[in-house]
Symmetry: D2
Subunit: 248 residues, 4 copies
């Protein structure tokens, strides 16, 4: 087992909610690479991590684009030369279209899959070879952690775009867990069932405005870190999380 400083982590899909919290959490141990389409989504987080003594670097990347992901990983290999990948987090939300089905365009329908199906394929193709290289030496089993949603488990009226993307993501995650688990890579899927507490949702009247009625993204980050530290005799493939007042 090598020192954590020889390793890095990567978070795809950073923004003001889960992505930021996960990046801050993993940055306490590993340098963190942040991917988002819009640099505005990672720049302040990179700054925040650096100011608290961590290492972070962001790359503008569209996970739905194979060439964009390839370009990003070419740069990553150069910038983090000599470091190995310990943890890869796929936290891409993607467009969240709610519409009656017959008003949904093909582009809108495909948006769910483009980010969470194809986007995850691109991310997994880029990170799995690096995670496999870390199996022998990583402080904890190298991990590929996936953010799911209620819509990963059930479709609902007007949500076919988001649900089909999240179902495809879960299917791919299960397939990878079964293929790469025995090789020592931990693939885990977290079903986030509820609304994240973040600036944009501040005034949403969720769960009757109950205190702690929205999910703390810092607590999600704790979950991801906990999953990353599980030993290989005890891999969790799936866990849910929701506020105590959430109906389920």
């Amino acid at each position: 087992m090598a020192a954590a400083s020889n390793f890095f982590s990567i978070v795809a899909g950073v923004g003001p909610g889960t992505g930021r919290s996960v990046a801050l959490k993993f940055a306490k141990v590993y340098p963190v690479v942040l991917l988002a389409r819009n640099p505005a989504h990672y720049e302040s987080i990179v700054k925040e991590i650096k100011e608290s003594g961590g290492q972070a670097i962001g790359f503008s990347t569209d996970v739905a684009s194979q060439s964009s992901v390839k370009d990003a990983f070419a740069q990553i290999q150069k910038e983090l030369k000599g470091k190995k990948l310990a943890a890869a987090i796929f936290n891409v939300g993607g467009a969240f279209v709610r519409k009656p089905f017959l008003e949904l365009s093909l582009d809108e329908y495909e948006a769910g899959y483009n980010t969470n199906g194809k986007g995850f394929y691109n991310f997994a193709q880029a990170t799995l070879p690096l995670l496999l290289e870390s199996v022998e030496s990583s402080p904890h089993p190298p991990s590929l952690i996936i953010t799911g949603a209620t819509a990963s488990m059930r479709g609902s009226a007007t949500m076919s775009s988001f649900a089909s993307g999240k179902f495809a993501l879960r299917a791919t995650g299960q397939s990878l867990a079964r293929e790469f688990g025995p090789k020592g890579v931990h693939v885990a899927h977290v079903v986030v069932d509820g609304v994240i507490d973040m600036p944009k949702t501040k005034d949403w009247p969720i769960n009757g405005g109950a205190p702690d009625g929205k999910i703390s993204s810092a607590a999600i980050a704790d979950s991801y870190w906990y999953l990353h530290t599980q030993p290989r005799s005890h891999f969790t493939h799936e866990m849910d999380c929701r506020p105590y007042v959430e109906k389920f």
Copy 2:
């Protein structure tokens, strides 16, 4: 309720297995439209139906292509002028690629979604407006019936392409059931868990070669017809089927 002869049915994804059997079954009551990319897949079935006194017509259609589906339905509207749609069956298998994930190209990965995600979107967009028009008059609640697979329920190593497509299909089917059920359209998803008994699988050593160890496609067709005839107070959304000797 109008006479069945004022209605038609449509089967997307016909070939020598389930598609053929479903077409023969529904042709006993309704004229049947058959869709397949390759005319060779429907021509003999059209002939077989006509010879036994039914009505059938085939259209070469690529369900993964929005324009191909639109063209087909323009022709269908013309050819079946005055008839209403009673049942639409989505039986598109799609490419079945089995490969270690890191050897799977993006095109191969997307093949599952193209047929079963986007392809089903295209088919549902074309058929749901017609099914809605039949709610008041159809002999049985107008039905959209979907062929799923074991891979609709769980991913497995080397099957991420097929599983992600079948998961996306199930997600979309669930969404449509919840949106269109209350409008009177019956959306049902059948999990076919096992190998279909057809010429191509004749010599596959399934279930130790046990008699009836492969699924009779005629029995699947009976299921689909049974689902179509359920009254609206009793809609089945999901059922499985497998040979008695199949492990599950």
Copy 3:
């Protein structure tokens, strides 16, 4: 394959809803044995079947009592000497207690299991040997069909008694399907998700009073018959049913 007249069927848990409809349906082909604790629950149904030309006989039986079930089957063997069992339907609802957990007595909690766990054990022990004897000769694969509920799939606040019984029933049904399916006995579990339309529920304001907003028990009976007639290459283990307007 022998004539249907050499076979009989049996329904445990008859009353004015599903049990009556299933008995009437199966009585069109097989003599039917009806089991209920209270003779008042089967007497009018026996009469109804006989008046329409069928054969039926009822036995007062408490499925939760091993000796009561043994006594009933001893009588059945005598009364139906020479006939074989083609279909056994377990439709025992059991006490339906809704209470905050801390107000629920142990007796109330156990009521769910007594009928649907232990009761099903007793019924399955009595019927499976008879069903196995019919494998070679029954007109359709001998069948053990189980009535489940929404509470078979998920617990809910105040419903732990009913849910624990229905979960135990489903667990046992799955175990039996896997053990006896390969021997030719069809074990099927139907998730009835909604309220049955029957005299007692007539004025219940279900689904906003929508027409057909409650499940037709005759349609459930059609399902059970359909399941019974499936060939062994195509056994359905589980299907759901609900009104088109039911939220799920």
Copy 4:
């Protein structure tokens, strides 16, 4: 929030595997009460905890017996006077009978439910009132954590006793999560999918004898502790765990 020393924890079902590890883990923060039918199962663990500076006390208790559980809790209230309950762990395995169904006696069938259905009812009735009293003051949300198994999710041939008990346990756990979650008590269910690494399983040839092919009970204890420390905005109801080489 009060000091952890004002609180205690309780583990039902202690033995050389998970129970011992969970007790050792929670004893680092809280005094631990251990329940087992056979004092031999907790005596050495009590000693081990005391020797490492923790507090522990054991009570011989049969969870399947309402009076035995009541007696135990009367003693607990006396011995731990003034302390509040922070965490209750239900880790009762129960008899694990594997037999063809037709060779399974009623007593053997009921053994699964007696421990995991009725036993859990008794344990939950005793602990939930105490957990509710701790909601305002406990260092972490008071927790009721349940050990499930693969058999909580699916029945299998010859396992109807164990599966029906574990299904009933899960049903009850789900019901309690939905009733007591909104009151601030965290009810969590862990699906342990694999064989625990402990003296008794040392020579079992699990997963081809792969290193770490059995689950570390210390890692399960870490999971339980992690679940206990989740804030109320982020309650996990269910998670699985299995060795990296386990087929699933």
